[in-house]
């Protein structure tokens, strides 16, 4: 870029005619503007689209959350009342507990399993590597609704596969959507089934980026595979791990389709709201109940803030432990 600007500079030895020099000066100005501002123009489409579909809805939601907002009727400004109402709303806290419960039940085993599988797939002795790497990703390609419907059938009380299997070991049929623990288990199973492969692949990519000579050096020093894993793979995997954890956090906090379909599409998630997540509560308040759209918007912002806080917490935690 700067090269073209240099060549355009007039030579002091032979002063050009005023007309030519003016044209050159104008060219130079345009050129400088171009160099300085055209990059902004090139990235503008993203920001335009983000502004329309990302930023504007967010700000609009914030604006709505400050109102008593009826979707098809009146709106009146009420300041932060919706937010103060959140604190004493028992069902909001219930949804929060459910969301974190299912988040823990899905994310922790999922990441451990993904780490284990990624390490396995990273081994040199494994045959048909590409096949396994592709196969492990397949669940993620299946539509989430299909997953939820199939698992919903597997977890049925009367004719479900899991209850049938349990009957062989003498366990009474479980009413999967009738208790908190069982519904959480069922929903987390769906999430794990779908996302373990995805995380495995990302962790695997991170592992492949670790220089091989580190392992060779360690091997010469007499470090076994276990020691290599703890002292080379894990620390070097830190940035990838942060990424995966934050992604899982965002996904976990927004859990919606699986619990919704598990409860036959009922937005309150179980007879006593055993598995209603924050996202479902937001939908119930903001979309299903037309007259509480403002409160729903406040729930949406609460979810956003929670995601920010949890992601930050994760980030600090993972950074510290990996040090």
């Amino acid at each position: 870029m700067s090269l073209s600007a240099t060549t355009a500079r007039p030579s002091p030895a032979a002063p050009p005619s005023p007309d030519v020099s003016r044209r050159r000066r104008r060219g130079r100005l345009l050129n400088r503007l171009d160099v300085k501002y055209s990059p902004y123009l090139y990235i503008a489409p993203f920001f335009l689209i983000f502004g329309v579909f990302g930023l504007y809805p967010m700000l609009r939601t914030a604006w709505m959350s400050l109102h008593d907002w009826d979707m098809i009727g009146e709106h009146s400004f009420i300041g932060f009342d919706n937010y103060t109402r959140l604190f004493s709303d028992e069902y909001f806290w219930n949804a929060l507990v459910n969301t974190f419960g299912m988040f823990a039940l899905s994310t922790i085993p999922q990441l451990l399993l993904a780490l284990f599988l990624a390490n396995l797939l990273n081994r040199t002795f494994l045959r048909a590597k590409t096949f396994f790497r592709m196969a492990i990703f397949v669940p993620n390609v299946v539509s989430v609704a299909a997953v939820a419907i199939v698992f919903g059938m597997l977890f049925q009380r009367e004719f479900g596969l899991f209850n049938w299997l349990l009957s062989f070991v003498g366990v009474d049929p479980v009413d999967w959507d009738g208790h908190r623990w069982s519904s959480w288990t069922a929903i987390s199973t769906m999430v794990n089934w779908r996302w373990t492969g995805y995380n495995t692949l990302i962790l695997l990519a991170g592992m492949q980026a670790i220089p091989k000579d580190l392992y060779e050096a360690a091997e010469i020093d007499g470090a076994g595979p276990w020691r290599q894993f703890w002292q080379i793979t894990l620390p070097m995997l830190k940035p990838t791990f942060i990424f995966v954890v934050i992604l899982s956090t965002i996904g976990g906090m927004q859990l919606f389709t699986e619990p919704l379909l598990f409860g036959n599409g009922n937005i309150i998630g179980g007879n006593q709201r055993e598995f209603q997540t924050l996202a479902m509560y937001m939908y119930e308040m903001g979309i299903v109940n037309l007259n509480t759209a403002g409160y729903g918007a406040a729930v949406a912002w609460a979810i956003f803030m929670i995601i920010v806080v949890v992601s930050l917490f994760n980030f600090l935690l993972v950074r510290r432990t990996a040090k």
Binding site: S4, A8, G27, L30, N31, D34, S38, L41, Y42, A44, L48, D70, M71, I72, G73, Y91, G152, M153, Q156, R157, E158, F159, D175, G178, H179, N264, G265, N266, I267, I268, G270, N271, Q272, E284, I287, V288, N289, L290, N291
Partner: protein
């Protein structure tokens, strides 16, 4: 990259940006009302499910020369959000819009979104089932909807399972088994003792049946105060429903256990609004054809669902739209729609029509469903439904009943759960 090409690109990009912004700005509002008396070229009709208007609309086009576009949405679940969007943004709504019972009640507090039909159509108040006509009015007296169909209630039962358990199978005898809910419960206990299996699908189906029978206010009084905890009609529905827990298969309506239960025979009877017949036959499959029959509902009539036709205030042609709605809901049209797709008439004349009364259903052992449902619908008491009736029913009453049915809460706890949730769900 030479300066000229870069400059051209810059210009091109700027031009693109300007047209994009201009394009956005061009989407202004276009709700300029046509001059009075101007005849519309086209009217749009929004319906959900199958309302049987296909042929009627063609006839209307022929008669008036106004084109009609029929927009159908299969699922009510998809229909409602679309409707909310049209109303919230003030554009996109059809000229004639079908409103299901729950949606209508929910939209009533904001009645200004709908045209008042009283000055636009002739007075038909005496021609329809009185309670159905009344439900079409908003709190301020504005007539929002003209009645289309009704979800009149009956009992669908399995003849083969009844026979195996030593119960009568002939539909009049079966109806005679349960003049009231006590009789229904006794029959259920007898069935359970003989077969060892559950008699009905769930107790929420029972509460749906009882709720409309007593008349009187349900979750709201006429001033729209929530009275769920004191309303006698609700208490009666609650007590009747909870008393049936011992003969219930605990398969809540629409759950996989429920739809699978039809084939498996986990229950021998269920409550059928007229529109449910198709769902029962689909779930049971062709193998069970002729095994089902239809009897009358204990305690007389009952209602579950039903719709109205309304004209959104944003329609450019409220006069013609109201006329079209009037035409689609008149006696003749209701019989035609019933013959085509089966929605039950609400027009008194249509309910007396021979074609309607003599209608039989082949899948259900040729049961005279027209007659059964027609009789059931005539017995319904006028009931006032408040703005969030549907939300209170679906998200407070039914979850509490299911919690009791599944043993998650005892009767007192479940009642407490219901009354508390009714207050939050019913607030508007």
């Amino acid at each position: 990259m030479s300066v000229t090409t870069r400059r051209t690109r810059l210009a091109a990009a700027a031009l693109a940006a300007i047209t994009a912004i201009g394009g956005l700005a061009a989407c202004g509002n276009d709700d300029d009302k046509p001059a009075a008396g101007e005849k519309p070229a086209k009217l749009v009709v929004d319906t959900f499910g199958e309302m049987g208007y296909d042929e009627l609309v063609k006839q209307y086009e022929k008669d008036t020369g106004i084109k009609v576009e029929l927009r159908k949405t299969a699922q009510l679940g998809e229909y409602r959000p679309k409707l909310v969007r049209y109303l919230a943004t003030g554009k996109g709504a059809a000229d004639v819009t079908a409103l299901e019972e729950g949606i209508l009640n929910e939209f009533k507090p904001n009645a200004r979104n709908w045209a008042d039909l009283t000055p636009l159509v002739a007075d038909h108040s005496k021609e329809y089932l009185p309670w159905k006509w009344e439900l079409g009015k908003a709190q301020d007296g504005r007539l929002i909807g003209l009645p289309t169909d009704v979800g009149s209630l009956a009992v669908c039962y399995r003849k083969d399972l009844f026979q195996a358990a030593g119960l009568p199978t002939e539909r009049d005898q079966v109806s005679a088994l349960w003049p009231d809910w006590k009789g229904f419960h006794d029959a259920g206990l007898k069935y359970k003792q003989a077969s060892g299996k559950a008699f009905i699908d769930s107790i929420t189906a029972v509460s749906n049946g009882v709720m409309f029978q007593g008349g009187g206010d349900l979750f709201y009084d006429k001033e729209d105060n929530i009275i769920a905890d004191t309303s006698p009609a609700v208490k009666n529905a609650w007590d009747t429903a909870t008393s049936m827990a011992d003969i219930s298969a605990k398969a809540s309506t629409w759950s996989p256990e429920w739809s699978g239960g039809f084939k498996q025979g986990t229950f021998a009877a269920t409550f059928c609004p007229s529109w449910m017949l198709g769902i029962v036959s689909d779930n049971s499959g062709p193998a069970n054809k002729g095994k089902w029959d239809v009897a009358s509902v204990p305690g007389g009539g009952g209602n579950w669902g039903g719709s109205w036709l309304a004209v959104p205030a944003q329609s450019k042609y409220p006069n013609e739209a109201a006329k079209l709605a009037e035409y689609l809901t008149n006696a003749k049209s209701q019989v035609e729609a019933f013959k085509l797709k089966g929605p039950l008439p609400t027009n008194l004349e249509a309910l007396k029509n021979d074609a309607f009364i003599s209608y039989t259903n082949e899948y259900f052992s040729n049961a005279p469903t027209g007659k059964i449902f027609g009789e059931s619908v005539a017995k319904i008491q006028p009931t006032y439904l408040g703005p969030k009736h549907q939300a209170v029913k679906e998200n407070a009453l039914e979850p509490a009943l299911r919690a009791f049915e599944n043993g998650q809460a005892d009767k007192a706890k479940a009642w407490e759960q219901f009354t508390k949730d009714a207050k939050t769900q019913g607030a508007f």
